[in-house]
């Protein structure tokens, strides 16, 4: 039953142990500003550990540096705000389904939390409106959350994480670590107020799943079509006329130039708005980038504290 999480955990253990360890050993606790941190034990220093965690006195008596490990007595509440709408069925930059990538990201973040004894809840659309799940603190519970993301495959829902954040801002009173997992929605100045509010009330990390480039796909002999243009009630892949990119157009230099310029402008604008709201963002295009992105986001967030 725990198929989704098993796969994610395999991926985590296959990756460098150091990053995982450092992420677990210092990352999430930073939400709580050092309160209620009890000294647990010492262990050898490995690359990536915070210098400030080194126990200099203990290290002096040892041949290698030692770092202090702390135990968090309070339970951290992780809220995964995940986009599950129609656009998530499209391809990410790496060619995988964005939904699969979102499950991977949510699963990784959730697994770190669950393994650290923290609670995880999912804030996502149920197809009609935003719902928040009951907090889960077990791997089975996390698997259940991931399956909810998967269950929306093929949905016609067009909600975005902005809707979820809007919903969350008026209902989630307790301070959470909020990890937003979304594709490249348009984040504009109109959302700035909402984002600032959420960012000040919670610890906000924003993981952006980057979109596939339709022109690159078309140039590769692929026929990219708009996932939103799939005709209801027809065979899979039957799309409205004009909702796919002909291969010949991928060679058009003017189109490529204009598209690149437009995309750059849009991304810069999104990044600017998120930065203005004080939100740490990382971009993920393929599953191989998932773990480093989470790690980087956690590191940056800790430093930004």
């Amino acid at each position: 039953m725990a198929a989704l999480l098993t796969r994610i955990r395999t991926r985590l253990t296959l990756h460098t142990h150091r990053r995982v360890a450092s992420l677990l050993d210092g990352g999430w606790a930073s939400v709580f500003h050092g309160q209620s941190l009890d000294f647990d034990d010492l262990r050898e220093y490995v690359d990536g550990d915070e210098i400030r965690d080194i126990d200099w006195k203990a290290s002096a008596r040892h041949s290698v540096p030692l770092v202090k490990r702390y135990t968090d007595h309070r339970r951290l509440r992780l809220a995964l705000v995940v986009a599950t709408g129609r656009s998530m069925d499209a391809a990410a930059t790496g060619g995988e389904s964005k939904r699969d990538l979102a499950i991977l990201l949510a699963g990784m973040a959730g697994w770190f939390a669950v393994r650290g004894g923290d609670e995880v809840c999912l804030i996502a659309s149920d197809g009609h409106r935003t719902r928040m799940t009951r907090p889960e603190s077990s791997e089975a519970g996390l698997e259940h959350l991931l399956r909810r993301i998967l269950a929306h495959r093929g949905t016609q829902d067009s909600s975005t994480v902005i809707d979820h954040l809007d919903w969350m801002s008026s209902r989630l009173r307790r301070r959470h670590l909020v990890i937003v997992i979304s594709d490249e929605i348009d984040v504009t100045d109109a959302h700035l107020r909402l984002l600032r509010k959420a960012s000040s009330h919670h610890e906000l990390l924003w993981l952006t799943i980057t979109e596939a480039d339709p022109l690159a796909l078309a140039a590769d002999g692929d026929v990219p079509f708009d996932v939103a243009a799939t005709l209801a009630g027809t065979a899979a892949g039957t799309v409205r006329a004009g909702a796919s990119v002909p291969r010949l157009l991928a060679k058009d230099a003017a189109v490529a130039r204009d598209y690149a310029a437009a995309e750059t402008a849009r991304r810069e604008n999104t990044a600017r708005v998120l930065r203005a709201a004080g939100i740490v963002t990382e971009r993920v295009g393929a599953s191989a980038q998932a773990l480093p992105a989470i790690h980087r986001a956690a590191e940056r967030h800790r430093r930004a504290r």
Partner: protein, 327 residues
Amino acid sequence: MVTTPMLWLAIALAVLALAAVLVAFLLPARSRGRTPVAYLSRLTALPAYVRARRRLLLGSLAGLAVLALTAVFALAGVARPTVQETISPKRHLRDVMLCLDVSGSMITYDAEILESYIEMIDSFDGERIGMSIFNATGVTVFPLTDDYDMAKEFLEDAHAGFTSYGTEGLDFIAPTQPPVVTGSSLIGDGLVNCVESFDRLDEEERSRSIILATDNELAGEPLFTMPEAADHAVERGVRVYALAPSRYYFPAPLEELEAAAETTEGEFHSMSDARAVDRIVTSVQATEAALTDGRLVTLFHDRPVLPLAGTGIGVLALLVLVWRLRL
């Protein structure tokens, strides 16, 4: 008129091509490479994209149109346009029977008459001539024909026969004098025999003439008298041109002959007149010859220039389009 003898092939090819296009459209598109992407409108709403797409659409339509036109031209070429031309050589529909009296009284003149006939043949053009001789009975030497060489050969043989009194060439005397028939020089019978030699009396409107060389010296009991024979000729629409040796002593038979000839709207000429033969020929040719179509000859001319030129230009245009669109 343009006909297309290979039209079935062109139609078959067109049907095949249409079927292939239909199958290509109806078959499911290749499974490879259909990737869903989100927010495609960020690309498709770009003015540059809209322009490029319109250009591509117009280019494709132009290419399709050129391709269709080229195909039509090529199929038109396959259909093998042919111009059919029917030639109908006009022919003079005149029949002339040479009717020669070879009775004893005429023997001395016959060689001369045959010479006149040979001369006459040279001035014919398109007419059919035939020859029949008679004394006690009528014999056809050669039937109506436009083979002048053959006729001339016969006449020259006959001429040799008369000048050598039967020792060489054709002997006209013995066959026309069978022992079972009494009398000789049965001119009326000979003329009737001659009249009966004309064929296609009911089928074709032809000008029919007889050149009758005789002295009209009857020696026996004929079945037809001269006026009866003339009436028969009139009945069949045959003109009789009489050619008689000059006689000063017994003009009555010649007068009867002249009367008979005039009954049939023909003429009477004396052999003393050096130009008698010319006049007869002129008269014969002056009679309004019914002109009719000869055997129809159908010629087929291929007309490949337009389809081939169209196909060539179409292929060139396609190449230019492919080059321009960088397909």
